[in-house]
């Protein structure tokens, strides 16, 4: 299997943080069609890592690349093409859903890439279909439920036709049904996925591998069930053993 994402010795310090690094020499790979989770306590650097994968950080792309997407290094020259390959779903759908209607918002990405007219319409329809929101084109954002907004954002990301999906806390503040539906939705999407989350049940159900971050360092990496069953490890990094593994009952 070829590598969808490769990260080598990635480090980053926020300018306002004089001491300590937000990311400290991170290295990992993600295979094609693999779904991995990034776990860690708040402040561990999960969101910072995700922003790097899309090239939003650092402010000026480095000379020496630390990130490769489908084998292509992320540098100043390749920024635009690589950015299009990585679809980033932000934690708060209100930050990503900026347009007056669903159609306008989902078409935002493709329009930046130069799509127009009928192909654009079809792309938007297809993306909305993928997330189960067919027919929502003319709806206004503030009339949508939280879950619907999140799915519109996902449609907007999918419309850019990325090869890697990166999601920042996708099931936070969704109700149980919303979480289940979103989980099924993610399962139906192909391609590599990197999910930063606190939702450990989601991780058990979706992700084959897990990375644990703490204070910017990669402190553990491995297969989901063995790693998450390691109670000592989990508690040591501000996490806990998920309930589904506590009682060894798989959830539906």
């Amino acid at each position: 299997m070829s590598t969808a994402v490769e990260v080598r010795q990635l480090s980053y310090g926020y300018p306002q943080m004089p001491s300590g690094l937000a990311l400290d020499r991170l290295s990992f790979t993600v295979a094609e069609n693999e779904c991995i989770a990034v776990l860690g306590p708040n402040g561990a650097g999960k969101s910072t890592l995700l922003l790097h994968l899309n090239g939003l950080l650092p402010e000026h792309p480095p000379r020496e690349p630390n990130i490769w997407i489908a084998g292509q290094p992320l540098t100043a020259k390749t920024l635009d093409t690589v950015r299009q390959r990585v679809g980033l779903l932000f934690q708060d759908p209100d930050d990503q859903l900026i347009s007056a209607t669903v159609f306008e918002d989902v078409s935002f990405g493709p329009r930046q890439m130069g799509r127009d007219g009928l192909p654009l319409r079809e792309l938007v329809e297809q993306s909305l279909g993928l997330v189960g929101l067919r027919g929502f084109e003319d709806r206004e954002p503030h009339r949508l439920s939280h879950g619907e907004k999140r799915r519109v954002c996902l449609a907007g990301v999918l419309a850019c036709q990325p090869t890697v999906l990166v999601l920042d806390e996708p099931t936070s503040d969704l109700d149980p049904r919303g979480r289940r539906e979103f989980k099924h939705l993610l399962q139906s999407l192909p391609g590599a996925k990197i999910i930063a989350t606190h939702d450990l049940e989601l991780v058990v159900d979706l992700c084959s591998r897990v990375l644990i971050l703490d204070e910017g360092k990669l402190v553990a990496e491995g297969q989901t069930v063995p790693l998450l069953s390691n109670e000592t490890l989990m508690l040591a990094h501000g996490l806990e053993k998920p309930h589904s593994l506590l009682h060894r009952h798989p959830h539906g």
């Binding site: 926020y14 306002q16 943080m17 004089p18 937000a22 708040n42 402040g43 900026i98």
Partner: protein, 322 residues
């Protein structure tokens, strides 16, 4: 102060719209030249913020409540050009979506509340802040409070001038009515402005962009705004300033000085509204204005001194990101 349609005649509306277009043009140029792409969404969010802030009820007295207009506040937080654009957009939406302010009068409203209020408030803010000897955050709060009052009053005078120029309301009535009322309303505006600036300084002082050298998008616009303000006020207010000699003469008479008949260059506006003890309402307002300005200055100073010690040592280290 939103003027509805039907109060301004065509000529005044056109002049005001022209002046507004000029001011917005300057602001657009400034913003295009110096606003970073990173800050573009902030304009929209700031407009939503102003709108949302205007919806809050400030209890005033005996069951009445007031609202923050936020023109000077926006100028202090974003700099003058961004503030002009933000307030213009707010006024446009208020007119087009809420029938708050007339469509033909939009130009006048934009000029009064979007340019006179914002720019004069900003000038006064920067001037006061640099002239006063005070610890930095105190000076900022003080200057913002005073500027908030000043901008409100000056905008109301501009509005009065437009009403008078349209011959809807005589100047000798419009000016005292508008100016006096807004000298009082302005207190609330100034107070709220100062308090909000203080709140922002307490958490994210770097967000008070208007206090910095450049603001969010400042520069040569200074001259442009100054000129525009002067022109606008010359058109809307100066024709009536000739009332001053009459007013002063009335004062002189009341105080017992022999007065040489000083014929004004223009005939006195109709409705010689006489007040006891003082020659005319116009002069009374003028005097009240001077007193009011001094009072507002002192009050803002006292506010800053009384409330701002809680800021203590300025936060040298910005909060770290998680």
């Amino acid at each position: 102060m939103h003027l509805p349609d039907g109060f301004l005649d065509a000529r005044t509306a056109l002049l005001a719209t022209g002046a507004a277009a000029g001011g917005v043009g300057i602001a657009l140029r400034q913003v295009r030249n110096s606003l970073e792409p990173r800050q573009m969404p902030m304009l929209g969010l700031a407009a939503a913020f102003v709108f949302a802030a205007q919806m809050l009820n400030f209890p005033v007295a005996w069951g009445t409540s007031g609202h923050l207009v936020g023109g000077v506040l926006t100028a202090v937080l974003l700099g003058p050009s961004a503030a002009v654009l933000v307030m213009t957009c707010v006024l446009m939406v208020q007119c087009l979506m809420f029938a708050d302010g007339g469509l033909m009068a939009l130009g006048a409203n934009v000029f009064n509340m979007g340019i006179v209020n914002v720019c004069s408030g900003y000038f006064v803010f920067r001037a006061t802040r640099s002239l006063i000897r005070m610890e930095e955050s105190r000076a900022t709060v003080f200057a913002a409070a005073f500027a908030g009052w000043f901008g409100t009053v000056l905008a109301s005078i501009s509005c009065a001038g437009q009403l008078a120029l349209s011959k809807t309301v005589p100047w000798s009535l419009a000016f005292p009515a508008m100016a006096n009322v807004h000298m009082i309303i302005g207190v609330g505006e100034g107070l709220a402005t100062g308090l909000v600036v203080m709140a922002v300084l307490r958490t994210r002082p770097q967000l008070v962009a208007g206090a910095r050298e450049q603001g969010l998008a400042a520069g040569v616009g200074f001259m442009g705004y100054g000129l525009l303000l002067a022109l606008g006020l010359a058109v809307f207010v100066a024709p009536f300033a000739c009332a001053w000699p009459d007013g002063l003469e009335g004062v002189a008479r009341a105080m017992g000085f022999a007065s040489k008949a000083v014929p004004g260059p223009l005939p006195a506006p109709l409705a010689d509204y006489q007040l006891p003890f003082i020659g005319s309402a116009t002069a009374a307002t003028g005097i009240a204005g001077v007193i009011g300005t001094v009072l507002a200055f002192v009050a803002a100073y006292a506010l800053a001194r009384a409330l701002v010690p809680v800021l203590g040592t300025p936060k040298k280290d910005a909060r770290s990101e998680t």
